[in-house]
Symmetry: C2
Subunit: 354 residues, 2 copies
């Protein structure tokens, strides 16, 4: 039951997904161009003048708040700008689309200089250049508190190519790209150094030794990339995923979204989870369970997708794509199969910032 405070219910008692569900449950769509509203990586909007192939526009938005989503003590502004743009591109790729434009809302308090904002923007521009995306508009405003970055990304796709979260079918294969939990371990490293060396002039500069050989982990946290290369490979191989999303809140949370929206269950195999060796090393050093980190650490921005089992042969040669399990009937639940064959229900920790 939801807890109440003063005159109402605490948001923490519902959580992010519960709140969104409650707010959008009664949503009725009036526009014929709205093909898909709330509930996926992007909304899907039909082009009104489209004939034949029926291209669609994709729309996604992200709000990044200082102190919640980033800590400027160790996040360089240029990296922050880059990441803020890229995580939006990632949502468009996760629909099997191509990001084409962004608009940027910026709230800036007086402690920032013009040079600071230039630095942030240079990161946004760099991401745009690399991914072929145009920055087409914005809203810049004073803020009484910290830095606020809101980015909305528009993308394109053919309607028949769009991949939703709700298309996974029993016996489909479950795959992920890259590796899992690495961005989270990068964050742990940064946090440890921040606490240990508070007051050092520049955290990364002064304490460079602490990060030696672990630059990759930091990069995964500070400057992630969106996996357009995976989308390109899938297209080339002729694989049309049945469901797809990007991993921003951790694998457990995301696969549970796919399963609940598709009305299926899943088996994920612990020993199939792709884990970076350096990430595992740091986890051990910090006395963390790397499997838990891989399942629940956020911000990997890797792609999670399911595809028909008949595509297996086409999957094998793909680079940096890993088969981690398969889709089951719904009554099986969403299960992690351990190294010794034990079956544990997957738990989505997700977002609990309230």
């Amino acid at each position: 039951m939801a807890t109440t405070k003063k005159n109402g219910t605490e948001i923490s008692s519902l959580g992010e997904f519960g709140l969104i569900k409650q707010l959008t449950d009664k949503m009725v769509y009036q526009q014929p161009s709205t093909l898909k509203g709330v509930g996926d990586d992007c909304a899907v909007i039909r082009e009104t003048g489209a004939k034949g192939e029926e291209p669609v526009k994709l729309v996604t938005t992200d709000l990044l708040l200082e102190g919640v989503h980033f800590n400027l003590e160790y996040v360089p502004l240029k990296h922050l700008g880059y990441k803020a743009a890229v995580v939006n591109f990632s949502d468009v790729y996760a629909m099997n689309g191509t990001p084409t434009q962004i608009v940027v809302g910026l709230g800036v308090s007086a402690r920032f200089t013009v040079e600071d904002i230039e630095e942030l923007y240079s990161g946004i521009r760099l991401a745009c250049e690399r991914y072929g995306v145009d920055l087409v508009g914005g809203d810049t405003s004073a803020s009484m508190t910290g830095l606020t970055i809101s980015i909305t990304c528009i993308g394109e796709a053919e309607r028949k190519d769009v991949v939703y979260r709700n298309g996974a079918k029993v016996n489909d294969l479950i795959c992920v790209s890259g590796n899992l939990g690495t961005a989270y371990m990068g964050l742990q490293l940064l946090e440890r150094e921040r606490l240990a060396y508070r007051g050092a002039e520049t955290l990364i500069g002064d304490r460079i030794d602490a990060f030696k050989d672990r630059e990759y982990l930091l990069e995964r946290q500070l400057k992630p990339e969106a996996r357009r290369d995976i989308i390109a490979q899938l297209r080339e191989a002729g694989i049309h995923p049945t469901a797809m999303m990007d991993i921003s809140d951790g694998l457990s949370s995301e696969i549970k979204h796919i399963c609940s929206q598709s009305g299926v269950g899943c088996a994920i195999y612990e020993d199939k989870l792709p884990i970076d060796i350096k990430a595992a090393e740091v986890a051990e050093e910090m006395n963390l369970n790397i499997v838990t980190c891989a399942l629940n650490g956020g911000e990997d921005y890797e792609l999670l997708f399911t595809c028909d089992i008949k595509d297996y042969e086409k999957l094998v040669p793909l680079e940096d794509v890993y088969l981690i399990g398969h889709i089951t009937k719904p009554d099986y639940g969403t299960i992690l199969v351990g190294r010794n064959g034990e079956e544990l229900p997957l738990r989505a920790q997700g977002w609990e910032a309230f």
Copy 2:
């Protein structure tokens, strides 16, 4: 010359528009679908599958921050949600388009309850229902500080119908809808009562007398409407404005945008400015110059447009549209012609919140 602080330039030395110009000056567009980027009410994006009539998508974004754009001491959450949506619709109408979808980013601190956010959303939903717009996505997140609302609106138009800011020509007529400075006077009323009756349980409820007969002013501030009726009238009358924008920062600031982007000057006649009688009354009571308020008071969300002088006959019968001046050669400057014929340069106060 820009002032510098610590290691850089204070943002206040550039102002909002200077900052945006500096950030976006070097912008290069790579996407063939980008027809118009930064610098108008909306970005304009070509539909990739469009044939013949060539419909386009319009995109605009607004970031609203507590303590900067709204004060929850007197802004009811439902009104805030309504207004946050409507100001975005207004930007789409200002391009001569129709708003069709929005996505909403929300940053909420723990002091808000589920019921609070429901209230805010109910306002957003009401605006969407009234204007036929679909809420198709969002991002809800914890905030360490106040309430943050980011709305991005998508709209539709035929490419040939889109009206930019840069099309005003010498001798064009300058018109505005509604009245000017009224929302600003509503804000002054609310602020006066807030300061006088700090501590009252509900400001508006307890001090209802102070607002008697002035509800219209409050409504203009708290719950503005977007002028789709004006767009419909123009269309029906066969008038295609040469330039248009909505008035969010005050008439002076907006007409100067049109003039600088169109490479023209203007003459605005003081005695033609549409001013609400109640607004004038309150201004006198508060010892404010109502003309200054009409020129520089923000948040009217009326439409400012220019049209060819040959459309004059068609303009006359339009409801709630006022002819306030005409476009001149650029060397005339942007001028306010006073009641006695004196010529004063228009000054844009605009946004100086840093």
